[in-house]
């Protein structure tokens, strides 16, 4: 598959700039220590999360921060970095002069975003395991889970990037991502909201991503994991179709 050569290119680049990936793990760890541990003292434990026993606050927040890291890493790769390659570096122009096609470019960049999302989640999982915040061996499910989250958001990112006109437009992405990060049950359970708000929040892709990771991380094998997986797979598949078509048109213009 010729799209794989894009993964090869990114690996080559990150061999020089590996610290960027390190920084990407650094931020969720800071959040975990400050909010998880610091606010944890104020909160104590969270009840009624998974139907089971009360959960330490840090253990509750950790999988949500991992889901957010997987989302941000993938989106960053296919919006911010991809926009730079499209407009500033014109990387894809040189690729399209070779036998590579627009479709290869789209698939290759998405594959890379999924791979790096998986790597970042593995590293973060190691950190939270070391901190004793992992409640169950089922936590290993967060790795394929993070890959699925990365897939859903990477494809969405490619769709978004084809609509951006200039660097200023990038802040509209922030305007959607930040509230989603804050309100998609990252820091407190869904039960805090009144019922109508709950119904809205449950439709957020980050909410589903958090469900996908939080349940297995806390050792709860609930059908909600399946619902979340289907939601994200469907979102990824839909965005992928649109992404390949739209990016093809953007690059050929």
């Amino acid at each position: 598959m010729s799209a794989a050569v894009l993964v090869e290119r990114n690996l080559m680049i990150y061999k020089h700039t590996w610290y960027v990936l390190l920084a990407e793990i650094f931020e969720p760890i800071l959040y975990l220590l400050s909010i998880g541990v610091g606010i944890g003292v104020l909160v104590g434990s969270v009840t009624g999360v998974t139907g089971g026993s009360p959960v330490r606050y840090a253990a509750f927040v950790a999988p949500a921060l991992l889901a957010t890291a997987a989302m941000n890493g993938a989106m960053n790769e296919t919006t911010f970095l991809m926009f730079g390659k499209l407009k500033t570096d014109r990387t894809y122009e040189s690729m399209l002069a070779t036998p590579l096609s627009e479709r290869d470019v789209a698939l290759g960049e998405i594959a890379w975003a999924v791979l790096r999302g998986t790597l970042v989640s593995l590293a973060f999982l190691a950190v939270i395991t070391a901190l004793g915040l992992v409640e169950s061996p089922w936590a290993i499910l967060v790795v394929p889970g993070a890959a699925l989250i990365a897939f859903a958001f990477a494809t969405a990112g490619v769709v978004v990037v084809t609509f951006l006109r200039d660097w200023q437009d990038m802040q509209y992405i922030q305007l959607v991502m930040l509230p989603m990060f804050l309100f998609a049950t990252t820091f407190y359970p869904l039960s805090v909201y009144p019922r109508p708000v709950q119904l809205v929040v449950q439709w957020l892709p980050l909410y589903q991503s958090i469900e996908l990771l939080r349940n297995p991380a806390l050792g709860v094998l609930s059908p909600r994991i399946l619902v979340a997986a289907v939601y994200l797979a469907a979102m990824g598949a839909l965005c992928l179709t649109v992404a390949v078509r739209r990016l093809g048109r953007t690059l050929a213009a």
């Binding site: 080559m12 570096d89 002069a97 070779t98």
Partner: protein, 313 residues
Amino acid sequence: MNHTGALVSARGLTKIYEGPPEHVAVGGIDFDVRRGEAFGFLGPNGAGKSTTMRMIGCVSPRSGGELTILGHDAARDRRTIKARLGSVPQDDTLDTELTVEENILIYGRYFGLRRDVIRERTDRLLEFARLTDKRASRVQDLSGGMRRRLTIARSLVNEPDLLLLDEPTTGLDPQARHLLWERLFRLKQDGVTLILTTHYMDEAEQLCDRLAVMDGGRIVAHGSPRELIERYVTREVLELRFPLDRHEQAAEKARGIGERIEVLPDRLLCYTSDGEAALEEAGRRGLDPLTALVRRSGLEDVFLTLTGRTLIE
């Protein structure tokens, strides 16, 4: 190969950018490029040269007409054609974070070449581009001329049958240009077919066996540099320069000297077979130019004659 025996053959080739406003970048052109020659598109910015190159490179789909490259239809067999092309775009699109060597390696991988094959070719390519001692340097630390040579070296990694060069020396200093010309000439001698665009006359004269002169999306003339000069202009030109306040008056007085007079904003050009005689004639008419120069006609004069404009405006 098609019946003309040409490597590239275009008939009525058209590119229209859907508006608004609609823009006809290339308005139906015909040309053939033969194996082993250096073929040039000469014209000012906006003439449609780069668009034509992008269509030949199979990165921009045509809007109409026919385009056959290496015996394949440009729209149908993109992947097959691109595998045998080398492409040097107008702006270098190198990976600036990577080293010189890595740039060639990853570019070769885009062609699906094996790593050991690329490595073996890299030595020769770096030698050719005079970049052997820069092998491990990052591209961001290279000069403009070095980057240009790396882009050319990179474009040769698949040992292409046809090399496309869009404005290969624009923005380079004179020394870097001459080095590049010499390298390109060597490629031609090795049998690589070159297609290049330029708005420099000297470049077209130095490198190209045949030229298509473009203006406003059309080919206004083609032939070898010598043919074009013989066909469209006289052997010599007398250039006269006057103080700006006497310029128009002088143009009036000079009318009839030589075969034709071209009035530019800053000087008069008298096209004639004998420049010295024309200069004597100017003296007889009481013209008193600040400077007078007799020179041989060139492609700049061809372009001026064909379009009424200079190449670089």
